[in-house]
């Protein structure tokens, strides 16, 4: 009897071990993955999912080294990261699991309510220095950005500023909350945050990506329909060989229930 119990326990342990999967990477995706993993484990008590953060770069480096099963990333895999995977004889698979829209925010007293991409580039590279140049009051522009290593900083630089560098006098804040706080108390301020973080203390700006022909408001509806341009996809990356292992969890994330969690966490579903 004891023997049977023991072997049963062994089998249970081994099967649960084979189900265990590690997810690592972007701090933006982290809260989403945690919620997904919690619900997933509740539904499948035998499954084990551990989620850790560290940043997109760290997650992808772990995937290249084979120390994680899924890498979370708030940006597309870089060319040289893909090359490293290929050189190691691995194929990398990419799954878009959710989207995150960035809102450009200004102080509530600011009259300006719309800007083009070119104007945003000018403001953040330091070529446009006063609000009157973009139709506002005569007041210097104070631009806030995230810290240099943040994925949001990189995305904004690549997507909105077309890879130009920020001006050297840019104020950089350690967290999204700090940007909201500073923008809400500085009349000439402008900054960018994830759409889910926008509060009523700041005003969001409509953005035009076609030189001022159409301006789109940053709303969930516009971002989901693809009209609002400053949207970044959030990805899971995994190795082709471990597909069988990670597929059940990824399928859950992509299911209607999983995408509902995406919404409650403050991101945009992909469908």
């Amino acid at each position: 009897m004891k023997r049977i119990l023991f072997s049963l326990a062994m089998v249970a342990m081994i099967s649960s071990m084979s189900m265990a999967q590690k997810i690592k990477g972007s701090d933006t995706v982290l809260p989403l993955s945690q919620h997904e993993a919690e619900t997933y484990m509740k539904k499948n008590p035998s499954a084990r999912v551990t989620v850790t953060g560290g940043g997109s770069g760290i997650g992808l480096a772990a995937l290249i080294e084979g120390t994680t099963d899924i890498a979370m990333a708030s940006r597309k895999i870089k060319f040289d990261e893909k090359m490293k995977m290929q050189n190691g004889g691995k194929t990398v698979k990419e799954i878009k699991i959710a989207q995150d829209a960035l809102s450009v925010v200004v102080n509530k007293t600011n009259k300006v309510s719309k800007l083009t991409r070119e104007q945003l580039e000018g403001i953040f590279t330091g070529k446009i220095k006063n609000w009157k140049e973009v139709g506002g009051a005569n007041m210097p522009i104070i631009a806030y950005s995230r810290e240099t290593t943040s994925g949001t900083y990189e995305f904004f630089k690549e997507h909105v500023m077309k890879n130009k560098n920020y001006k050297s006098g840019i104020l950089s804040m350690p967290a999204t909350g700090a940007i909201i706080q500073s923008v809400s108390q500085t009349p000439g301020a402008i900054g960018y945050v994830g759409m889910a973080y926008v509060t009523k203390d700041v005003k969001d700006i409509s953005v035009s990506y076609d030189g001022g022909k159409t301006y789109v408001e940053p709303t969930v509806a516009n971002a989901t329909s693809g009209k609002y341009p400053v949207v970044r996809p959030l990805f899971y990356y995994y190795e082709g060989k471990s597909e069988a292992k990670v597929k059940p969890f990824i399928n859950f994330v992509l299911s209607a229930e999983g995408q509902k969690i995406v919404q409650t966490t403050g991101y945009l579903p992909i469908k």
Binding site: G55, G57, I58, A61, F79, D80, M83, Q86, T125, M139, P140, I142, E147, T148, T149, S150, Y153, E154, N163, K164, N165, Y166, S168, G169, I170, L171, S172, M173, P174, A178, Q181, S182, Q185, T186, P187, G188, A189
Partner: protein
């Protein structure tokens, strides 16, 4: 007899344990500083261009090399002609990998990028003004352009550079001058603010306060040192920053002054405690003889106690500066962290500790940025070391006559 022997044995054991912990501490501190320097030193052997990449130009281009600053200005679109960097009068066409890939179909490049070297070679040959930023592995022997020679980051660029863009591509900018000056600037402001207040409180506590007030006030002041620095930073961001913006009518409240005020509050307990202790060490005989000669209480304080305690007061100041220079979280939240060389106290600044705290967590291990941050740590270490030695020397100076 036996008991005595046992006691002696324990005494020797304890002595050795004390000695051991003393040397262990020294060794650990030594190892940490060696670690700092070895991690940081690699910086000056690293290439100015991002690892694994090269810069390529057309064969007919006469340019021999470009400084990191020139490379950044070119890719930012601020330098547009080769003439500005010493070449012919041809417009510069900066080109990144993704742009080249976008020019061709997938078949032309190949699913495993097997035709990419050829494409890069063609593009470089076709565009006279090209400045290509391509992965090294796709530049083969048949490459029809010129590869700019790799240069290492020079100490001159690091210590004298005025721009800090640690993640810029193709060439990151590691100029620490704004960070170093920012740190010193904020600390100087803090000490200018904290010294008069600290000294006043110390004199009050040592000479004027009655024993009951002193018994309550002293622990309260020492309690200030126990408040987490993040709390100070948060207080600074919500209260001091808007206040400064309104009082001085500035466009932005996150300034060096905000950092200085927060740091001054944080340095006060150190200054007060050390200065007060040294004042109370004034021998009673000296005080009494001064009073007996007819001097008033204030005259005694001014002419006897302060001169006697001067070395202690100086040590308090220097320790306060040391506290201010190394402070991280509070400064990170209130100074705005803009890497520009400060000219006034009403401008945003970026300090060394704030830079390390904000960037090290996400910098990939062993990268150039990682090394640059460790070097910053080493510089900060040297700064505080000098200050500590200075404080030690002052404290040991003979008392004024």
């Amino acid at each position: 007899m036996f008991r005595k022997k046992k006691n002696k044995f324990f005494e020797i054991l304890i002595e050795w344990m004390l000695r051991l912990s003393g040397s262990a501490t020294t060794i650990i501190i030594l190892l940490i500083s060696i670690f700092l320097f070895t991690e940081g030193w690699g910086l000056f052997k690293s290439s100015t261009v991002e690892k694994g990449y090269v810069l390529c130009i057309n064969k007919e281009n006469k340019i021999k090399n470009l400084t990191p600053e020139q490379i950044k200005e070119i890719f930012d679109g601020n330098i547009t002609s080769w003439k500005e960097v010493g070449g012919d009068d041809i417009p510069i066409e900066p080109m990144r990998m993704d742009e080249v890939i976008g020019m061709f179909s997938e078949e032309e490049i190949g699913s495993d990028f097997e035709h990419l070297p050829e494409r890069l070679s063609d593009v470089t040959a076709e565009h006279k003004g090209i400045l290509g930023f391509f992965p090294e592995q796709f530049i083969d022997i048949k490459f029809k352009g010129k590869v700019l020679p790799a240069e290492t980051i020079s100490p001159k660029d690091y210590f004298g550079g005025k721009e800090w863009f640690p993640t810029a591509t193709p060439a990151a900018q590691f100029g620490i001058l704004p960070l170093l000056l920012g740190t010193l600037w904020v600390s100087l402001g803090a000490i200018l603010l904290a010294l008069p207040f600290g000294l006043a409180v110390a004199i009050y506590l040592a000479e004027l306060a009655n024993p009951t007030v002193r018994k309550i006030l002293k622990p309260v002041i020492e309690l200030l040192a126990g408040i987490p620095s993040v709390v100070y930073g948060f207080f600074g961001l919500i209260v001091i920053v808007p206040m400064i913006r309104n009082v001085f009518n500035l466009p932005v409240g996150e300034t060096a002054l905000a950092g200085s005020i927060v740091l001054a509050i944080m340095a006060l307990p150190t200054i007060i405690t050390v200065a007060e202790d040294s004042m109370r060490n004034t021998p009673l005989a000296m005080k009494e003889s001064s009073l007996a000669l007819g001097a008033t209480h204030w005259q005694t304080i001014y002419h006897v106690i302060i001169p006697y305690a001067s070395s202690g007061i100086m040590a308090a100041v220097v320790l306060g500066i040391g506290r201010a220079i190394g402070e991280t979280m509070a400064v990170l939240m209130v100074t705005g962290n803009a890497a520009v060389i400060p000219h006034t106290f009403t401008e945003p600044v970026r300090t060394i500790p704030a830079t390390i705290a904000a960037e090290l967590g996400e910098a990939s291990v062993g990268s150039v940025q990682y090394q640059a941050l460790f070097m910053l740590g080493a510089i900060l270490f040297i700064l505080t070391l000098i200050i500590s030695i200075w404080a030690e020397v002052i404290r040991k100076e003979p008392h004024a006559e």
